[in-house]
Amino acid sequence: MNAFDIVVIGAGHAGIEAALSAAKSGLSVACVTLRLDRIGHLPCNCSIGGPAKGHIAREVDALGGMMAIATDHTLTHIRKVGTGKGPAVQTSRAHVCKSLYPKFMQDVMSKQKGLTLIEGMVQEIIYDKVVSGVKIRQSGSQELTNIKCRAVVMTTGTFLNGVCHIGKEKKDAARDGDQAVYSLTDFLKNIGVRIRRFKTGTTPRISKHSVDFSKVLAMESEPDAGPMSYLNDRTFEKHPLLPCWQTHTNLTTHEILSNRLKESAMYSGQIDSVGPRYCPSIEDKVVKFADKHSHPIFLEQEEWDHESMYVQGFSTSMPLDVQREAIKSIKGLENAEILKPGYAVEYDMIDPMQLSLSLMSKLLPGLFLAGQVNGTSGYEEAAGQGLIAGINAVQYVRNEETLILRRDQAFLGVMIDDLVTKGVEDPYRMLTARAEYRLILRHDNSDQRLTPIGRKFGTVCDDRWMKFSNKKNEIEKSFLGLKSTFTGPQHSYAVEAAGGGKIINKTSIFDLLKRPELDLDTLEKVSKELNLSLVFSKDKSVRQQLTIMAVYDGYLQRQQDEVDRILSMEQRRIPEGIVYAELKGLSFESVEKFTNIMPETLGQASRIPGVRPSDVVLLSRYI
């Protein structure tokens, strides 16, 4: 009990994936958390997915993570998003039950072989050039226990020096009802980590019974969005899925907020930390988008068996009476009863530019950091980092190759590369726009991109691997079939009868599928009629892959060409320990930046902001 290979600090979305992926490797892992009943807690909205975040959830799943599986089992609502904006942007947004989701995770964690859960607080990380252990104070005890370990994954979220604000009220806490942690910041400062303050916030919760549903727009679930996890063929909701409801703020709402702006924790100067640019508070929106007369609000039921509703789009740190007045000005919420006020939380985050692409600290070998503490926002972003950090902690302990996903391989690769190479100015949220090769990084093909990698690093179980291999074989077989079955003018009549254009030259079925007026169902019918010896896969996800491969063939090819073009830069590794100051000709700024960031590849070096292309050219000549 006093020695493990790896200790994970925290059991939020990052901690869970880190602990599980590390334990799956066969190493002994301890996960230390302040409250076992808060494992997998959802302190903000109970939503998993949405643009770019859905992509990450799928990637975590394809690599053997738990987030999407838990989502499928605790689902209350699901919707497709980004339809009509192209295949790259399409994904789904799920709502999960606030009480069931953590229970599911707690169950999984407690059953995971090789994983020990400890309730307590890590006071200090012990090191001597490399990480060698942690000092823990267990719940209900005043004594400190030393635990030996070779790697630590810190996933402390908003807990470091957390301060919660509601208007002028202020209390030391990491979030609603949870105590903050102080000692670890000192440890981090001692090893040279740069600490900054970020803030984030959440919305008030209102009672479902007090909403006038006749005045808000119901948005029904779309169960055909399918399961989140590749492992599941269906979702496992406890009751019929719930809708979610839409309403809007109006000028009166905005007036109430701007009149009392000075009382907001953000605008009174009480908080001077940086908040999330892409998930602004409602008072921020009113100030920054003053020309907008209305902002959309979504009402999301948090639990199957509870009246509490999350008011998406209304994150705030205004005093409670202002929150109440502003909420009541919204259509449908005239009689809304606030169960819990919205609040903002300030916390310490570390500068991710001091991490390597494996998420290990450049300052202390064996120390990995993942999740919100690295300056990101969002459960999915946290889970993704946790998974990668967990895998790499194992690789570090075993002294084996680290897992680094490239920008053309995964949104996870884009995120970590951004964090480490460019740093963060405000809480980092994933956006599809951050990925340059997003046509390749689709929601639907995450398994094709990543499951083989997860298998190699030991996080993909046999079930998942079998399922993946079968699908992959079927895609390849069907693809070959479509490509090598040809039609000619003699078949044209059948295609035309099905609503297609004339066939003039010898054309493969695959090429016919590229035509906008033909789809796979039609072609299946036609080829049966024509007695073509072609077997069509019955698997929906296989059919989807084939259709995307055909319809977007040209675009996919062009994007792949771009990837191939930069790959040589991405694969040129910069040797460790290079002394940039000694390289003749590099500009002073570049020497400084290269020295600080220590880029691992030429590609990464070229993305450092402010580095001149000529300096990258020069660098390429030295390595």
Binding site: P51, A52, G82, G84, K85, G86, P87, A88, V89, Y278, H295, P296, L431, T432, A433, E436, R438, L439, Y552, Y555, R558, Q559, E562, K584, G585, S606, R612, P613, S614, V617, L618, S620, R621, Y622
Partner: protein, 437 residues
């Protein structure tokens, strides 16, 4: 070449042949120190961009002008020495400087430093070479337009507009609930406008190609029609042997002249007839090849003998632009077909030049630019991608497909300007420069 980026380099910028004056340029961190050691009259109160007269260590005398960091051509400390244009003097000063730590510059190295130090973008660097290589004034003027930033500025402009569109595309995908859908009408208007700009740049493509290659004009016709006489008339000297024996010209002869601002290659060919021997046969075969390769054919016939069916047969089969020339028109009274020429009196010379001018693209020296092959290739790729994106948006395909093309456009523009280019390509571009540039 790149590894030695911090060396101080020296080379004559005026070429290596005896001349009245030669200029040596020395650039790099040691340029001033070395100059102090080589120039005997270093002023006590030295200032940049002032000329100082004095003697050099090798007993030559002349002027010295220094340019400070960022204000010189290369962007580094740079000194120019104006000395007597003696090869011996040039060589001894270079030797002296190399002993003090300088290195003889490689071709194009000064310009490459200017590019790497951010003084000029790649198109302006290339335009320096293109201006120097220009064979005609028009060529020089068009290259100068590029040297003055015409491609650079247009590309920056296009890039700015495209980035703006991309921002809209991205906002509408990631924040559709807040900002709504993409205004496709507005975007396609902007794209159409940008395409017009590109068309304007690419307008210079064909004249640039002709400026680069030269216009090949083949003189073709039956033996003794007077093709060689016309060549000589155009050159103003007796270049080709002229006799009244049919079939005198056996091998093709090439000479350069300038017409309408283009360098033209006049190709005199053997007269077309059934060959009398193997040598003539080879010559006639070459004439037929020339008919294929020429940009313009001057078809010459003997006006005193009239236009024959053989003439018509050959002439009718010529596919490129062609001019019918009635030579020896001083021997007849009738008005013949084609341009009347008398090589004895040079009558018709002007008419021939005018007629030829009409067959080459007009050059607008104010507005056109000289596009080299690299730039043309990239601009055409951009053009195709823009047409494709317009197609994408007008057919209501999803907006993120639009971004696939537009991001590639941005990359190509960066490549044109040298903001992001393959290191090997950059090396190759500068290796084609002449010494001292």
């Amino acid at each position: 070449m790149l590894k030695d980026f911090k060396d101080t380099i020296i080379a004559p910028v005026t070429g290596v042949q005896p001349s009245a004056v030669a200029i040596l340029r020395i650039s790099g961190s040691q340029a001033i120190d070395i100059s102090k050691k080589v120039f005997s009259h270093w002023p006590s109160e030295f200032k940049y961009r002032y000329a100082y007269y004095g003697t050099f260590k090798n007993s030559d005398d002349g002027l010295l002008i220094a340019f400070e960091n960022n204000k010189s051509f290369t962007g580094e400390e740079c000194v120019e020495w104006q000395i007597h244009g003696s090869l011996a003097s040039i060589q001894s000063l270079i030797d002296l400087s190399c002993r003090e730590g300088a290195r003889f510059a490689k071709p194009g190295e000064f310009t490459m430093r200017a590019y790497f130090n951010g003084k000029i973008d790649l198109t302006r660097a290339e335009a320096i070479k293109d201006s120097i290589d220009a064979k005609t004034e028009s060529h020089f003027r068009l290259a100068s337009n590029v040297r003055n930033g015409k491609i650079y500025l247009e590309c920056l402009d296009i890039k700015k507009s495209i980035l703006k569109i991309l921002a809209q595309v991205e906002a509408s995908t990631d924040f559709s609930e807040e900002v709504g859908d993409l205004n496709t009408l507005e975007v396609s208007e902007v794209l159409t406008l940008l395409l017009k700009k590109l068309d304007l740049l690419l307008n210079s493509k064909s004249s640039s190609k002709l400026l680069r290659k030269g216009v090949r004009i083949a003189l073709v016709g039956k033996p003794n029609a007077g093709k060689s006489s016309i060549l000589n008339m155009c050159l103003g000297r007796a270049r080709a042997i002229v006799t009244d024996i049919p079939g005198t010209t056996r091998d093709t002869i090439e000479e350069s002249i300038e017409i309408a601002g283009f360098p033209c290659i006049l190709v005199d060919t053997a007269g077309l007839r059934t060959a009398r021997d193997i040598v003539e046969q080879i010559g006639i075969d070459k004439s037929k090849d020339e008919l294929e390769n020429a940009d313009i054919v001057w078809y010459v016939y003997d006006a005193s003998l009239g236009w024959s069916t053989e003439d018509q047969e050959v002439y009718g089969n010529i596919t490129c632009p062609k001019i019918k020339i009635a030579n020896k028109s001083d021997l007849i009274r009738l008005i013949p077909e084609g341009i009347k020429i008398s090589t004895f009196t040079s009558q018709g010379h002007q008419d021939l030049m005018l007629a030829t001018k009409k067959l080459v693209p007009g050059i607008d020296i104010e507005n056109q630019i000289y596009l080299n092959e690299r730039q043309t290739d990239l601009l055409e790729k951009i053009h195709n991608l823009m047409i494709n994106s317009l197609h994408t948006i007008q057919n209501n395909y999803s907006s993120d497909l639009l971004s696939v093309d537009l991001y590639t456009v941005i990359r190509y523009i960066s490549e044109i300007l040298g903001e992001s280019a393959n290191p090997d390509v950059i090396q190759e571009i500068f290796s084609e420069f002449c010494l001292g540039k």
